[in-house]
Assembly symmetry: C2
Homo-oligomer: 354 residues x 2
DNA sequence: CTGAAAGCGCTTACAG
DNA sequence: CTGAAAGCGCTTACAG
């Protein structure tokens, strides 16, 4: 079925069919009805390749997962955050009549190719996750009107047409550390991520500032920076922290994400420390797994679903030409989830000891 | 950059540029070189919409996640198998120069629309997961040359151009149950999925046949069928099994997947049973979470990555017109992973009792 | 309000 | 081996 046939059956021209399909106003209700009847009867839907070629934006959004680190496994499997975001995004887009094209970006050439995808109307919006997208690319995207959104990459950006969406990393981290302090901990280590990306940098800053605000000195050697997408890195980070602090061991760890926390828990076990009796630990992200660890891992939860919805809703609005109220979005809600991985070391002696 | 400009710069016609780009043989090396130099210099890549419209197949594969059950949450989030498969598939396709378009199918109309996507050269291959795709649709896909593969849906299909890929569900289940039997269990319950889909039906059959082979009668009321995508269903299934078998409680459970097993473990805890001292349990899929439960859950592992690779490799080969050796694929490798959720109830008395 | 016509950027018989 | 031309199925000024 093509528009010519619909036109013939409805007794109008292709132009009119096109106007009806695209919902233009300059066609009287009676004509519209006649055309729509035929369209519905034959289940006609216009050919997308032809529409795109003729200049119509496509209803496809590209999800670009940037993974420039050749040494690591593919980050989409490694980190549950990505696959969760991806599935929520696909779902939300579906509801709005869009589809999701998933693309893993391994090098700068593939990055350049994204511009082509926009110019060809293959995608009309982009979502960027993973490794930091360089400013030069952001500028190129903005100049070429490639409407896009960065997820947990930068705190803010002001290239026109480029949005950012972030979770409340700073205060989330701050409150995680505050929770440890409320439980009597003073010597708190941090397994951190890269400072390039705002998400992990802000988590680090929240950690540091919370210590200082509570009169606890910040110590460089209680912090280890790691690539956040590998559980093993959490293992090695914990080993390193404990090796560097013989005699003044930390009583608690704040880990930049749950995945690293998992590795750290294994390391603590191997070193003969019990959780939480010897060391308390809290992660970030509230990934599925955190509920099931032994003991269950405390963590900071910011809904991936809500972040995804926030991002998709604003991106699609911008793609569709609606006024964009805020360029730099933040999901402010978060929750510190305290599970059994934290011990209150201020707790009064147990009755039996009295 | 468009082909006309490349043609001008290389001093040839658009036709020749097209021939070079498409790697046709009837162009002498010298001309090819001259064209390629210009192509590379300007980073030209042909417009996909135009190619598709002109009849070239696209390098996009659609992943259609069928979810007709209106009552449930979206199954892609619910079940870790889907998001794992999806990410591996995106990765493997990327390596072959393809991209993945993710689409959630909520009703028959969207299902029909898939045919359009093929006809418009939007996608040149399809992967179907989730709820069973009706035969009528399979026939339509086959007739319209929509090369596709069904994942864990049907044991076999013989419509031309439609493949199936399955894990070794029957023997995986058989060996899981056999492991329980080897550990002295005789009264073994089963939390099953729908019998429509081959994956869950075969797991049920493996369970049943293993019992019979070992001289253990099969009892209907030790089996409960559930939608496999919700943890709660595992909870209710376990409750129901124990309620129906007062006085002759099972000593072990084989669950059709890990997600249901998780729910069952919670139910056992709530009913005051200890795992594995009172009840042993084994799941299926070896999802990430299974390593972290308390106690760690025994399970059957068939690599999602290998299944995904098997499916993608064969689908792409068929899409590209290569001879297809086998239409119904099976990933035969699997492994029963025994963790602490299984107790050997044949074990000799402990020394202290002697 | 509506149709005829040009144009989107490719590919592919066809003719030479 | 190579170019001129038709065609893929739409959209959109343009003219009326």
């Amino acid at each position: 079925m093509k528009s010519t046939e619909i036109a013939k059956l409805a007794g109008v021209s292709r132009s009119t069919v096109s106007r009806v399909i695209n919902g233009y106003s300059n066609v009287p209700p009676e004509t519209r009805r006649r055309v729509m009847d035929v369209v519905e009867k034959y289940g006609y839907s216009p050919n997308n390749a032809a529409r795109n070629l003729a200049g119509k934006p496509s209803r496809i959004v590209g999800l670009f997962i940037v993974d420039l680190d050749e040494t690591s496994e593919n980050i989409i499997h490694a980190s549950p955050f990505y696959s969760a975001f991806l599935t929520y995004a696909a779902d939300r887009l579906q509801q709005k009549g869009y589809q999701l094209l998933v693309s893993v970006i391994k090098n700068r050439m593939q990055m350049k190719n994204i511009l082509n995808m926009f110019q060809e109307n293959m995608v009309s919006g982009g979502i960027f996750m993973g490794d930091l997208v360089p400013s030069s690319i952001l500028k190129a995207l903005s100049d070429a009107h490639c409407t896009s959104i960065l997820i947990n990459q930068r705190e803010s950006v002001n290239y026109p047409g480029i949005l950012t969406a972030n979770t409340e990393n700073y205060w989330g981290a701050y409150e995680a550390v505050n929770t440890l302090i409320e439980n009597g901990h003073k010597r708190i280590a941090h397994i951190a991520g890269s400072i390039d990306k705002s998400s992990t940098r802000e988590r680090f800053e929240g950690y540091r500032d919370c210590l200082l605000k509570n009169g606890i000195p910040f110590e460089e050697n209680l912090v280890v920076k790691m690539n956040i997408h590998r559980e093993e890195n959490g293992y090695w980070a914990a080993k390193q922290i404990f090796a560097n602090n013989q005699g003044r061991l930390p009583t608690a760890i704040f880990s930049s994400n749950d995945l690293l926390a998992l590795g750290a828990m294994r390391a603590l076990g191997d070193m003969g420390f019990r959780i939480p009796q010897d060391v308390s630990i809290i992660g970030f992200d509230n990934t599925e797994i955190s509920r099931f660890t032994t003991p269950p891992l405390s963590t900071v939860a910011a809904s991936v679903e809500k972040l995804s919805n926030l991002a998709i809703d604003n991106l699609v609005a911008l793609v569709e030409g609606k006024e964009c109220l805020r360029q730099n979005l933040k999901l402010e809600e978060f929750e510190v989830i305290v599970r059994e991985s934290i011990l209150n070391i201020n707790a009064p002696e147990t009755p039996t000891d009295i």
